[in-house]
Amino acid sequence: MDLKDKLLTSHIAFEDHLKADSPLHDLRSNALKVFEEKGFPSKKEENWKYTSLNSVLKEDYSFSPKGESVIEFKDVKKYFLHNVDTYKIVFIDGVYSSFLSETTHDNIDVCLLSSALDKSKYKPVIEAYFNKAAKKDGLTQLNTAFTKEGAFIHIPKNKEADKPIEIIYFSTGNEAAMFLQPRNLVVADENAHVQIIERHQSLSSNAVLTNAVTEIFADKRAMVDYYKIQNDVLSASLVDSTYVEQQRDSICSVHTFSFGGQITRNNLQFKQLGEHCDSILNGITIIGDKQHVDHNTLVHHIAENCESHQDYKGIFDDSSTGVFNGKVYVEKEAQKLDAFQQNNNILISDKATINAKPQLEIFADDVKCSHGCTIGQMDSEALFYMRSRGIGEKEAKALLMYAFANNVLESVKIPELKSRINKLIANKIGVSLGFEL
């Protein structure tokens, strides 16, 4: 039985475990139908031309862990932020770990999606938002069909999350191969502020495939900063779909740091529904080996006087492959728009490749849209400059790569996260910089 059939047959058993009157029952069945019809994406689809999931779909995955797995904090400490207090929503093989988590219901809700789905208190929020932004594609709806657990974050009007929120999904490898489908829902009401960091981390060398879906809703004047750290082991693959809907005067940013994993596909879609929205999509990709990272972005401009900024940098070594497919869609009502898109890549090795495809579809006439895409080798003039000052080739390259990626980090608002990413970059490049970051 292939993975699709296995999933379809397991759905009945999945629903049996849930309450019969679950409000999501219809939603789940409909979602399953979508998946049944569309299935997994294939390279024939324009949007998946350069990314094939075939190699990872072949594994014999288990969908839920047989027993409960325990991990000790000291073993996973390094995956958390240090020197900064955070809320934590932590899952082990898809199951919530209260031991590793620190949630709250004090003014704001930082908790589990499963409890939000269960409690009548959250019903209005769930009904208003759940699966409302998510696209009706096969993978997203597969996630909806199996939605059970994930992070639920609700920041009410005029409230500010008093510390950043870390969402971490660990997989232990206690099962031979694991297929995980976490689902996050973030709702920031009017003038609410929140910062979120998400990461998926496998703790073994067994195969893991994660099909994650996150929906983010920012009401008027809300500010949401979302950071994704993708630094997983080589046996882990990730399809991460994130849907952001913004109301007027809101500012949302999503930073994606892709350093690890075997195949990583990021679907990131922004929809601006009100005037004066600002959307920021930034990414740094540094990969080698046979790693593959695909950024598929869409900014959908519907209202006037809005802005969007996309800045993606990629450094590709060995036989790694990258894809950047960035689309800006401007409706004819979306006048006085400022849309900026930049994608710069460095290929360190002859065998590395990048496929970059910026797409602008503009139906408004009074707009400022710019896009640029570069693919280059390391700047040899700059390299010579540094070496002539006594900096060794390896160190000089590191400094150049650091400099290349650096301006994307400018917009990271959590200092501890910024220095953490800086260190990850230095680490990834394989050298220590000659100064403290």
Binding site: G390, N406, F435
Partner: protein
Amino acid sequence: MLQIKNLHASVEDKAILNGINLEVNAGEIHAIMGPNGAGKSTLASVIAGKDEYEMTKGEILLDHEDITELDPEERAHKGIFMSFQYPISIPGVSTTNFIKTAINETRKSRGEADMPASEMLKLIKEKAELLDIDRKFLSRSLNEGFSGGEKKRNEIFQMAMLEPKIAILDETDSGLDIDALKVVANGVNKLKNKDNAVVVITHYQRLLDYIVPDFVHVLMDGKIVKSGTKELAYKLEEKGYDWIKEELV
């Protein structure tokens, strides 16, 4: 100190340097002048070890040791410094961090420990004052958004920090106004002593009023066609290069 013997260099099979001979001793200041495209920057880059240029013939000796097989950083560690005609910028790396890295890498190559932070700070302060550079300026990204003159001053600041044996200054005067030129020249003169040497590449004798050369060489078509003293620079300023061409034929 530096001996260049019959140096030929080419890029993509195009010969640029056609047999250069030059000897620079400790304590000396040399000026190299010549029309655009003569090969002045190429000569400087070949000495500094730029691998884009292929040395087809000749020798470059530093303190009697052949350095032609050495990497640029190894040459820098031995005391060669080149101030770039067009310094590059590195966004995201401050001048301070850059020069710290350069100094500590040089020390590492000599088996020395990193320079203590307090000592580094003192040195930076001292050299910044010497060149009349605002310290705030040094915390900005290296050369990013700097004016031509600021870049050149930054080059000399780095030279002051690295204290090279031999400094080759490629058109350091271009982009500098007269006040900045005086500051830079003054800095170079203060750093000059009997154990080091300076090679100034320039278009104009203007700079040579402030950094007074012991020898002046004229480089044309990849060759040193004439050498003399400071007076030669005046003559070039007055008459241009044509009379030398005529002399040659």
